[in-house]
């Protein structure tokens, strides 16, 4: 029963948000409390590794939609709640219309629903819902640049979902079911490689558009950097992870290892290069999201259970620090009136220390300084025995990330300031705390989790080494910044890129 109430309550509350601004704020708080209470209940219920399952409408699992609170959901629900709380606190003092809160509730409801559903077509519907709601939220402030970014997002996401739908058709034609668990059995027994490759390629391409994978997600940099900052935090921290969740589910059905390896490596490196030479803070963060998604997908390509734990951990960690970075970057650019690194550094004195502190914690998290969130999650991934190719891309991505974030170094200066408090401090502390204390908190929430302590000194050395190399490279090449081609992010080129990517994935799956 609870697994139905949790997503649905957000949609119902969202409708009542139209009553007025005050009501909307109160309902946002009510929605969070309800979500938190139900999540705690579900997590206690499934503490022994069991799952809570409901098949809607009293149908048999093959026909009805199955909702299940499983390990994936248990990992992501706390992240959803933390980001939700941070965003509600962040926009508390802003003058947002009721529409904003309503859309926020719909977005979170859809995220909860996607984490619970075990049905392929239901996944399609929820992904489309996420597209529509995030499309409206990206263009919420109605600036032309935002409207253009969100329109590109809508068109490309819609193309992706068309491919996904055909993938569903192919799967249903050959197996007669859309339930993920029944599909796993059906696919392993009937192994005609032709249609399995076709269905796998179509479904992968469809999700890849949503998940932020090169060559499918060239809408991402514009949409994530143009959106209002609170929304960027949710998009980068949460919505993009939903694609990763669907990928995790698909990779249990189709032999995707090679595909994920190729797409992941391309995404990680491309994102890192573009992030390294971005001149605008929010744009750099958006490119960094791209490279981190590549990192996650590469981790998925390792395929062992330990690697999956690492991927889940890193997805949560990335959600925390990228959310924090986007929130703080939004306040900093709003205060300075420009998001460019040059202006931020020149007018550092105007930015409150709390905001810069939040940026600093987020940066330390993302460059994986021990023992913060990024390091803890990376440590699990690195100890899951990736091959030399994946290992090399991991290392390059880490160096690239440090390189890109080194551009913030001139901003990280602290002096005593006259009493000027940041109104967003509460939001920052909600996200900073789990970043700083990631290891004990994760151990408390998931008692089964074990990190192998013998490898730790080596991992610490590696992590600090990558940071040092990244900062050093940045110092050496500071004066020379090449102009990277921007035209691949145009609508026409992005559409072509999706088609090329689809053919590539099909070829890889046919092997």
């Amino acid at each position: 029963m609870i697994v139905v109430v949790l997503p649905l309550s957000h949609f119902v509350l969202g409708l009542f948000c139209y009553a007025g601004k005050r009501a909307a704020r109160a309902l946002a708080a009510v929605g969070w409390c309800l979500g938190a209470a139900l999540t705690v209940f579900l997590m206690l219920e499934t503490r022994d590794g069991s799952t809570v399952t409901v098949v809607l409408g009293g149908w048999s699992p093959g026909l009805g939609i199955e909702l299940r609170f499983d390990a994936f959901a248990a990992v992501f629900f706390p992240l959803v709640l933390l980001l939700e709380l941070a965003v509600i606190l962040y926009v508390r003092k802003d003058d947002h219309r009721p529409l904003f809160y309503a859309l926020l509730q719909f977005l979170l409801g859809a995220v909860f629903a996607l984490l619970l559903t075990q049905d392929l077509f239901n996944t399609y519907v929820i992904l489309e819902l996420l597209t529509l709601v995030s499309f409206l939220l990206v263009g919420y402030e109605r600036r032309p640049a935002q409207i253009w970014a969100s329109l590109k997002y809508l068109v490309l996401a819609s193309i992706g979902m068309s491919l996904f739908l055909i993938g569903i058709a192919v799967v249903y034609r050959h197996t007669g079911t859309l339930n993920l668990h029944l599909l796993a059995d059906a696919l392993s027994s009937s192994g005609d490689a032709r249609w399995v490759a076709l269905a796998g390629a179509l479904l992968t391409a469809g999700v890849a558009v949503k998940a932020g994978l090169f060559t499918f997600s060239l809408w991402l940099p514009a949409a994530h950097s143009e959106a209002p900052s609170a929304i960027s935090a949710l998009l980068s921290g949460l919505v993009i992870k939903m694609g990763i969740v669907v990928f995790l589910r698909l990779s249990q059905l189709f032999p995707l290892e090679l595909t994920l390896q190729v797409l992941g490596a391309a995404t990680a490196l491309l994102g890192a290069v573009y992030a390294a030479y971005a001149i605008d803070l929010k744009r750099m963060l958006a490119f960094s999201t791209l490279s981190q998604i590549g990192y996650l997908v590469l981790g998925m390509a390792i395929g062992t259970p330990a690697a999956i734990v690492g991927v889940l951990g890193y997805a949560v960690a990335h959600g925390l620090f990228k959310g924090l970075l986007f929130l703080a970057a939004g306040e900093a650019s709003a205060v300075v009136g420009s998001g460019q690194f040059r202006d931020l550094a020149a007018r550092r004195a105007e930015i409150p220390n709390a905001t810069v502190g939040a940026l600093l914690i987020g940066t330390l998290g993302i460059v994986a300084l021990p023992p913060l969130a990024g390091f803890a999650a990376k440590a699990v991934l690195l100890t899951s025995h990736p091959g030399p190719f994946i290992m090399a891309v991991f290392a390059l991505t880490s160096v690239g990330t440090t390189f890109a974030f080194s551009k913030l170094l001139p901003v990280f200066r602290f002096r005593r300031e006259p009493k000027r408090k940041s109104a967003r401090l509460a939001a920052y502390s909600v996200l900073s705390t789990p970043i700083l204390f990631f290891i004990p908190l994760a151990a408390a929430a998931f008692p089964g989790l074990r990190l192998s302590p013998s490898a730790w000194p080596l991992l610490v050395l590696e992590s600090v080494g990558a940071i040092a190399v990244g900062v050093l490279l940045h110092r050496l090449t500071e004066r020379r910044a090449p102009r990277l081609p921007g035209s691949i992010f145009f609508l026409e080129e992005s559409t072509l890129a999706i088609l090329i990517g689809l053919l590539l994935v099909y070829a890889l799956l046919r092997g």
Partner: protein, 119 residues
Amino acid sequence: MAFSAGIVLLGIGLVAIAIRRDLVIKLLALGLANAGSILCLVAIGDRPEARVPICAVCRDAVYADPLPQALVLSAIVINFAILALALVFVMRLVEHYHSTDSRRIEGLVQRDLREGGRS
């Protein structure tokens, strides 16, 4: 047969989105592509000599699989919503830039971002 027709429609739509620069034509092409994918979904419910799955007494007759048809309804509604919202946003862009040419709008957006910074 119908399945291949759906794929062809999808292909025409995607190519049109990639090569035509007019935003309204792009959205029409998107509608075509979506219609193609829906046609594919309907097509797989077909069986040889199947009838429409609406019946009072369903005995001894071959009926098309009703599940894809139920799925298609959701997909059609979603695609309608996407096209409607996209058209509203195109309208706002046209009001601001007086153009439906995607390259031109892209250039103007880039120029605005360079000049104005982010407010």
